[in-house]
């Protein structure tokens, strides 16, 4: 721990700390442009110059390039250093257009701040300014190159940190140009981060262009709900409109960055068709009144058919408050449910995963970056949880081996090994990898008895493809020498056995190496919470509705018509109902079909809410504003009407939890439901996973806490690790419904900026298979599914498993025709419709 003095104050810092970082710990913010904590030091801008008065380094040097050392005495205010910094800022301003008034960075611009603090006020350079032409960089990032100060942050992030190579630095000297080879959309789904990183107004947020200065905005810490990772955000609203989202630092989760889905997905909150008014039948009604009517009708049904005739269906995108209240309501009223997942098999997979996580096993995204061997089983990170891909890249940059076992043509922005096997073979691959990673003797000799027994149970059938087998074994041998392996596994497209198998193998690695991690992806930002609440019991509301046992359904922030894989069946079941009550903030099909509709708020409005990410981390979202119909919509683009109201137009929606609490009160006739504080008590009794909740302080809730149990709820090992999951009937294909970065995720599919960039929906087949079937990429094909026909364009790929057909759950594709569970298809069910366009 070197100790040094900076501006007469002493500080001890860990070995390897740069002087600029040591100063920051003292609260001294040395000016900087190129240095960034996530990107490290570069030494290019020369803005961070300080004077070293005593110690191993002498004179004016860059504080970002010098490591703190014992005996250093540093002055940040020395005249020579100050004069140099003043020149640096003057140089940087030589060519700057000084167009702050029309620049969106104005007010949040490091260049403005440091120009002022550097003391550069008068222009002395009389030469001409060099000017550039700007480029179109797509729908997210606005480019105004004249403002560039060549700090390199954008390129370092884009290429080195994120691993995409369509944006960079061209030309030389002061003609250096940051942009693309030719105008066009940035290819990286992390491109938005260069907006946050750019210290001036070259790269600004396009969708929110000219919508307000930072000080005009209602800002606050929020959370991303567009996948289960729970990245931290800062949200900004103005005039009742959600304006912009930026990344918020979280050391264990997202670091300094987020993905573009997280950055632009928020626009669902501004959707012009967002239902902001309660409704009974076709008639708009005040929320209170609609709520009373709902309570009345639900009470009647309960009276007539018994409590089990009412059922509740929630989803994994609701806050813990809403989920908890729904659970409480069901218990209180004796209703059926709640069900939290669209289908039973998914619920089982998620529960199996969550049950195997504990503090010894779960790793955060940040931990993942320090792993040295990562197996990604049944996951396609860029498509499913983009920031995972960025964490994998950091691990790879530090030398980790990344192996992906997945049927899809997985692309990762890093060096990785992809084994395209069908979902049914993923378990086997994990077994084989384990076996190759340690010798029998090592296994039996070194492992504790349980682990050794488990190891003994692993069967060793070979993969059909000898080449894949060989690559897998080679990976296993590499795994032998690794010390910090992690298994990543999604719960979406995999077999039911796979999540548990991933846990088994992680545990085996842990037994072997003393250290190993497990990292799941779950379906939705609060899937972890939902899985805990769902308990062991299985609820199958669809079946119950079909059987006629359910007469009223309360659907809370959930769109079964969009997410249930068998829509026909669901529609028939819904027809059996006497009452459908919907609560939501999305203009969904289910909301539209509800006889009574109660509008809820989004995560950005009115009240605090909490979500538990896939590694069991409870995090808080702070409301930024009160919500209401954005003024721009009220005024239809011009001045809003000059009427005076005592209520916010469109401001009726309330948090789901609150509406449910009032519903409970109305149903039972007494204001009994738990208030926010009690809700935590209630939850902590509900599941041991929530046991910490009761004792958490407000500040702990604010910062977020890991709710993981010290020991997993499920037994450590699966009983039959060699058991082979179901195989497709001979000659048939397995249809895989999958996620895409843009276009499949529910909330984001209502966000206009994301709609502009989503890929066209397509069906993906192996190139050879397509050729065998006489199909060519680009052709329209008809896919005959159990529930009917889907028309879709064909794409082909070489690097995918041969026996599968892959289709995204695209918002523009009517895919809900498959039914639950693995879907097998005879290849004849794919038919050519037309010639390629």
């Amino acid at each position: 721990m070197p100790t040094l003095r900076i501006d007469q104050r002493e500080i001890s810092v860990p070995q390897g700390t740069k002087v600029i970082e040591a100063a920051e710990k003292l609260g001294i913010m040395i000016p900087r442009f190129c240095y960034h904590p996530a990107l490290g030091s570069l030494g290019a801008c020369r803005m961070c110059a300080v004077k070293f008065m005593e110690g191993p380094v002498k004179g004016v040097e860059m504080s970002c390039m010098v490591e703190a050392a014992d005996g250093m005495v540093v002055s940040t205010t020395d005249p020579e250093a100050m004069e140099f910094r003043r020149y640096v800022i003057e140089w940087l301003m030589l060519n700057h257009p000084h167009d702050c008034p029309i620049c969106d960075a104005g007010g949040q611009c490091l260049l403005q701040d440091e120009t002022v603090s550097g003391g550069h006020g008068l222009r002395r350079y009389q030469g001409l300014k060099r000017t550039f032409e700007d480029q179109y960089l797509g729908e997210f990032v606005q480019h105004e190159m004249n403002r560039c100060i060549h700090c390199w942050r954008c390129r370092r992030f884009y290429q080195e940190f994120a691993g995409y190579f369509d944006y960079g630095a061209m030309q030389i000297g002061n003609r250096m140009y940051f942009g693309r080879f030719a105008p066009g959309p940035l290819e990286s789904p992390f491109a938005g981060n260069i907006i946050d990183l750019c210290p001036t107004g070259v790269l600004t947020d396009k969708p929110s262009r000219y919508k307000g200065r930072r000080w005009d905005l209602q800002r606050g810490p929020s959370l991303c709900l567009h996948c289960s990772l729970g990245c931290n955000l800062v949200g900004s609203a103005r005039y009742r409109e959600m304006i912009r989202v930026e990344a918020r630092f979280h050391g264990a989760v997202n670091g300094y960055f987020i993905c573009d889905r997280g950055r632009y997905g928020f626009a669902y909150a501004n959707h012009p068709d967002r239902p902001r008014q309660a409704r009974v039948g076709e008639e708009a009604a005040p929320l209170d009144q609609a709520l009373k009517t709902a309570a009345q009708r639900l009470g009647q049904i309960r009276e007539r058919y018994g409590p089990g005739a009412v059922a509740a269906w929630g989803s994994t995108r609701s806050s813990l408050e809403t989920l908890g209240m729904l659970q409480w309501l069901c218990q209180d009223q004796g209703w059926r449910g709640p069900q939290f997942f669209p289908q039973a098999s998914l619920a089982r997979r998620v529960k199996a995963a969550v049950a195997r996580l504990d503090t010894g096993m779960a790793v955060s995204l940040r931990d993942l970056e320090n792993a040295d061997f990562i197996v990604v089983a049944g996951a396609d990170p860029v498509q499913e949880a983009p920031m995972l891909a960025l964490a994998l890249r950091q691990a790879a940059r530090r030398g980790a081996t990344v192996a992906v076992i997945d049927p899809r043509p997985v692309f990762l922005p890093l060096e990785y090994e992809h084994l395209p096997v069908s979902p049914g073979d993923i378990d086997l691959c994990l077994n084989l990898l384990s076996q190759a990673a340690r010798s029998e003797e090592a296994a039996t000799g070194k492992l504790e008895p349980d682990a050794a027994r488990f190891y003994g149970l692993l069967t060793s059938t070979n993969l059909e493809d000898p080449l894949l087998q060989e690559r897998l074994l080679a990976l296993g041998r590499k795994l032998q020498d690794c010390l910090r392996p992690v298994i990543v596994c999604n719960t979406d497209m995999v077999r039911e056995t796979t999540p548990a198998r991933a846990a088994d193998q992680a545990r085996l690695l842990q037994a072997d190496k003393g250290q190993a991690g497990l990292f799941y992806l779950l379906p939705g930002p609060n899937a972890y919470g939902a899985a805990l609440l769902a308990g062991r019991e299985e609820v199958d509301l669809l079946a119950a509705m079909e059987q006629g046992g359910v007469k009223a359904l309360v659907v809370v922030e959930n769109d079964p018509l969009g997410s249930c894989p068998d829509q026909e069946r669901l529609l028939r079941a819904l027809d059996n109902l006497e009452l459908l009550v919907g609560l939501d903030y999305l203009p969904s099909a289910t909301a539209a079909r509800s006889q009574i509709f109660l509008p809820t708020t989004t995560v950005f409005e009115k009240e605090f809410s909490h979500f538990i990410n896939q590694e069991g981390r409870l995090q808080q979202a702070v409301p930024l504003h009160q919500g209401g119909t954005p003024i721009i919509q009220v005024g239809q683009g011009s001045h809003p009407p000059r009427t005076f109201l005592d209520a916010i137009p469109g401001g009726e929606p309330r948090p789901g939890a609150g509406i449910l609490a009032d519903l409970a009160a109305a149903l039972s006739g007494e204001p009994a439901p738990p208030t926010a504080g009690d809700l935590w008590d209630y939850l902590s009794g509900e599941h041991e996973g929530f046991s910490q909740l009761a004792s958490l302080t407000a500040s702990a809730l604010g910062e977020g806490v890991h709710l993981l149990p010290a020991e997993a709820q499920e037994p450590a090992w699966s009983p039959e690790p060699g058991e082979k999951p179901p195989e497709p009937p001979a000659g048939q294909l397995e249809l895989l419904l999958v996620d895409q970065t843009f276009g499949t995720e529910e909330l984001g599919s209502y966000a206009a900026p994301l709609q502009k960039v989503e890929e066209e929906p397509h069906l993906l087949l192996h190139t050879d298979l397509a050729a065998d079937l006489g199909l060519a990429p680009g052709e329209q094909v008809a896919l005959l599914l159990p529930g009917g026909e889907v028309t879709v364009r064909l794409q082909t790929a070489q690097n995918m498993a041969p026996g599968v057909a892959i289709m995204p759950r695209h918002r523009r594709l009517h895919w809900q025709k498959t039914g639950d569970g693995p879907v097998w298809l005879p290849p004849e069910n794919i038919k050519k419709l037309s010639e390629p366009l």
Partner: protein
């Protein structure tokens, strides 16, 4: 002229052939070394010879080699970028005796156990690149290059890398980036000797430096030291003399030869010209007025005057040459060649250039002088040695020729215009 080591047997119009080189002891050092002496012994001999890098920085070659990291393969990069204005010694050297250069490279590679060499050459030397490629083949035929050189277990091969032309590519770490197909910006964060080319131990040396090695090994370090005329100097030096002299050219003279003797060797000042100033070692050094005529041309003596030997490329200016104009010309060059990586050089040099341009055009102001001084000094805080080099002639101008600047200001025009 003194003993000729590097330019021995120089022919006016053609390079020496392998046979000619061998007749005067060529490749003997290699035969005596490979498989017979250890690389460590070679490194010690070169260290003891006092050989300092001829690429500009004057770093002791043996010392640099002693830092070579443990990894393999190791790389040796003979640096023939030679884009320092005024410098053409490497071109002359390669053209006089390509095999001396090659032997030096192979011996040095042996000394650091390098497996591969990359002969980095600027594009305007295309003819020399072709020459080296041809002679490489000849050396390979003769068993001096390639697998198991001279039957030993030492294998080393050399390829020619044609640059596409930028001054910064001569800087060692930028050069490594250039070879790797990356943008050739310098990189101070890695130690070349541990993690240079492709992350492996790498030594970059100027070709003149490497060409000294065969003679050092053949005749011994003491002999080499004795060649110099300066106190701590060693060897001979190729001095390129250009400008207002009678016989511009490249002359091999003892390290530490006084400037005026080199000037004499180059035939003295051209008719009608009087010495006004000289740059002692390329564009990245500082102007010196005639009072320094006696200065010994070696690293240390020049350092004592606050200047640098640089590449030993002497440019001679006469009384009719405007030094503000000359400095402006140099700054045009540096501004254009700045790699753009760091702020002082990328933005500060154009500012300096603009002030010089205004001075030269008679728009100068008194306050430009302190600004020029401050900015030129601040160039030393840039990322690499390019910007300090660019600042050097400016500082020389300010230091020794401030009166000439003031004339530009007071006369509101260049005093040399129309003369």
């Amino acid at each position: 002229m003194g003993e000729q080591v590097l330019l021995l047997n120089r022919q006016p119009d053609r390079p020496l052939s392998l046979e000619e080189y061998r007749q005067s002891g060529g490749y003997e050092a290699l035969m005596a070394a490979v498989g017979k002496r250890t690389p460590e012994e070679l490194r010690q001999l070169v260290l003891a010879s006092g050989l300092r890098g001829r690429g500009g920085a004057g770093f002791p070659a043996g010392k640099k080699w002693s830092f070579i990291g443990k990894g393999h393969p190791r790389y040796l990069i003979p640096n023939t970028d030679e884009m320092e204005p005024g410098t053409f010694k490497d071109r002359v050297l390669v053209n006089v005796n390509p095999h001396l250069v090659l032997e030096g490279i192979i011996l040095s590679a042996y000394a650091i156990s390098a497996a591969k060499g990359i002969f980095f050459i600027r594009p305007s030397y295309e003819m020399d690149a072709e020459l080296i490629e041809r002679e490489l083949g000849v050396a390979r035929e003769a068993g001096f290059l390639g697998e198991n050189i001279l039957g030993s277990d030492f294998s080393f091969d050399l390829v020619v890398h044609r640059s596409a032309g930028r001054y910064i590519c001569g800087e060692a770490s930028a050069q490594v980036n250039a070879i790797m197909g990356r943008r050739p910006h310098p990189n101070k964060e890695v130690h070349m000797t541990d993690a240079g080319l492709w992350g492996k131990p790498t030594i970059v040396n100027n070709v003149e430096t490497l060409a000294c090695v065969p003679a050092i090994l053949r005749k011994g370090p003491d002999w080499f030291k004795g060649l110099a005329r300066s106190k701590d100097g060693a060897g001979t030096k190729l001095f390129c003399v250009s400008g207002r002299v009678n016989r511009p050219g490249c002359y091999e003279m003892p390290m530490g030869t006084p400037f005026n003797e080199i000037l004499d060797e180059a035939g003295g000042m051209s008719p009608g010209s009087e010495l006004k100033a000289f740059l002692p070692g390329g564009a990245s050094t500082s102007f010196m007025p005639p009072k320094f005529s006696q200065v010994q041309m070696d690293f240390e003596p020049l350092k004592e005057t606050g200047n640098r030997l640089g590449t030993g490329a002497i440019m001679v200016f006469d009384q009719n040459t405007c030094l503000v104009g000359a400095t402006l010309n140099l700054l045009d060059y540096f501004t254009r060649e700045s790699c753009g990586f760091c702020t002082p050089c990328r933005e500060g040099l154009p500012f300096i250039r603009d002030l010089l341009l205004r001075l030269e055009h008679g728009e100068g102001k008194e306050e430009f002088i302190p600004m020029l001084k401050q900015m030129a000094h601040h160039m030393f805080k840039a990322y690499c040695a390019f910007a300090p080099g660019a600042a050097s002639p400016v500082l020389g101008l300010l230091h020794h020729f401030e009166a000439e600047i003031r004339e530009h200001i007071s006369q509101r025009q260049c005093p040399f215009k129309g003369k």
